[in-house]
Symmetry: C2
Subunit: 192 residues, 2 copies
DNA sequence: TGTTCCATGTAATAAGTTACATGATTTA
DNA sequence: TAAATCATGTAACTTATTACATGGAACA
């Protein structure tokens, strides 16, 4: 159900399904993803249900594009979703399921697994750290210049910058956890 | 696909679908969940495919139970899964999707949302902290007594204790993130 | 006698992935 | 001329959720 609201949220300005997929690939992929084969049918369903309208627009450099824009009903339900309870479904963490049974394999395999896991976390952490460095929180300070345009600039994007910080803090904790695991696995006799 | 291996992993001793659901509710729910309506059909599919066998056993206090046990093929594929790459599908974090659009609502609603989120993390963190306290890592030290029984006790469960620590560290980071968000939202003018 | 727990299943629906099909335009 | 990118879709399949159906045993 969340994907519906993500699409409605991204249509704060008119966009095509292809445009939306670019946004998933570029910035949203840290906390959500959707394939074009899921986006296109859902957009047309939302149009049938009265959330959206679309126009076919010729493109200067490719085939015609179907550009969607959102209607009043979309904004109402979007705001309801934002004001409702935090969406926290059951976590499904595949690598932790593997970890749960990891006692079954050799110490060498256990450590190999954790090193590979750590390296992946490390990569994502480096990427997100670099990204957040480009948007310092200090720029959102209230006694900063450019208070003349209350609607534009800084305030509009604070929430989005904070979503990046979520990844940074989370990944740091997961890297620490890998180190904790490697540390304790090493204290076990190597003959099991 | 992970659920298949979780079921195979849990069948290190003979169990029924109902037994397995109890384990999900009790300890696995921190990183996975499955309903009985998913477990029963998958168990019978895995039996058809030659991973499992089952027997109908009368119960002293209720209807007869179908008890599954795993076969050689199950163990082979289970070990392959454990030695393979860490299973890290695209994260789908609904509350972060909400956060991404949170600029659209009032500061009061934003903070309400984050306080509710923080409270949920706090609850889970308290629960898992209490649980890990019952299984101190020090008990797994290699120069500890009871090295006389190498197969039993401590070593067998270290990986499982470490999966709990994953939750503790992760939730601590998420609580810190909520505090960071609340701190920076408070610095914004209250009139938007 | 009603509620909870034990126990196993099916059916319908929703959400997500992979594969397939089509065709224009741009770039190497 | 071949490959990559732009652009929109359908079909088949897998995974997960919710609702439904059944019936015995324990307990209050």
């Amino acid at each position: 159900m969340s994907l519906k609201f993500i699409l409605l949220g991204l249509l704060d300005q008119p966009r095509s399904g292809y445009d939306i997929k670019q946004i998933f690939e570029g910035t949203l992929k840290n906390f959500w993803n959707a394939e074009l084969s899921q986006i296109y049918p859902l957009l047309s369903k939302l149009e049938r249900e009265g959330y959206l309208e679309s126009d076919l627009v010729d493109s200067s450099h490719g085939p015609r594009r179907r550009i969607y824009h959102r209607l009043a009903q979309a904004e109402t339900e979007l705001f309801d979703w934002l004001a409702s309870e935090p969406d926290m479904p059951v976590a499904r963490i595949g690598y932790l399921a593997q970890m749960f049974f990891m006692e079954k394999v050799s110490p060498k395999q256990r450590c190999g697994f954790l090193h590979r896991l750590r390296e992946r976390f490390e990569q994502q952490h480096r990427f997100l750290s670099g990204l957040t460095a480009q948007y310092p929180l200090e720029d959102f300070e209230q006694n900063t210049p450019s208070q003349d345009d209350p609607q534009a600039s800084s305030e509009r994007y604070l929430a989005r910058v904070l979503t990046m910080h979520h990844g940074v803090l989370r990944l740091k904790a997961l890297i620490d956890w890998c180190d904790l695991c490697l540390c304790w696995f090493d204290r076990l006799p190597k003959n099991s």
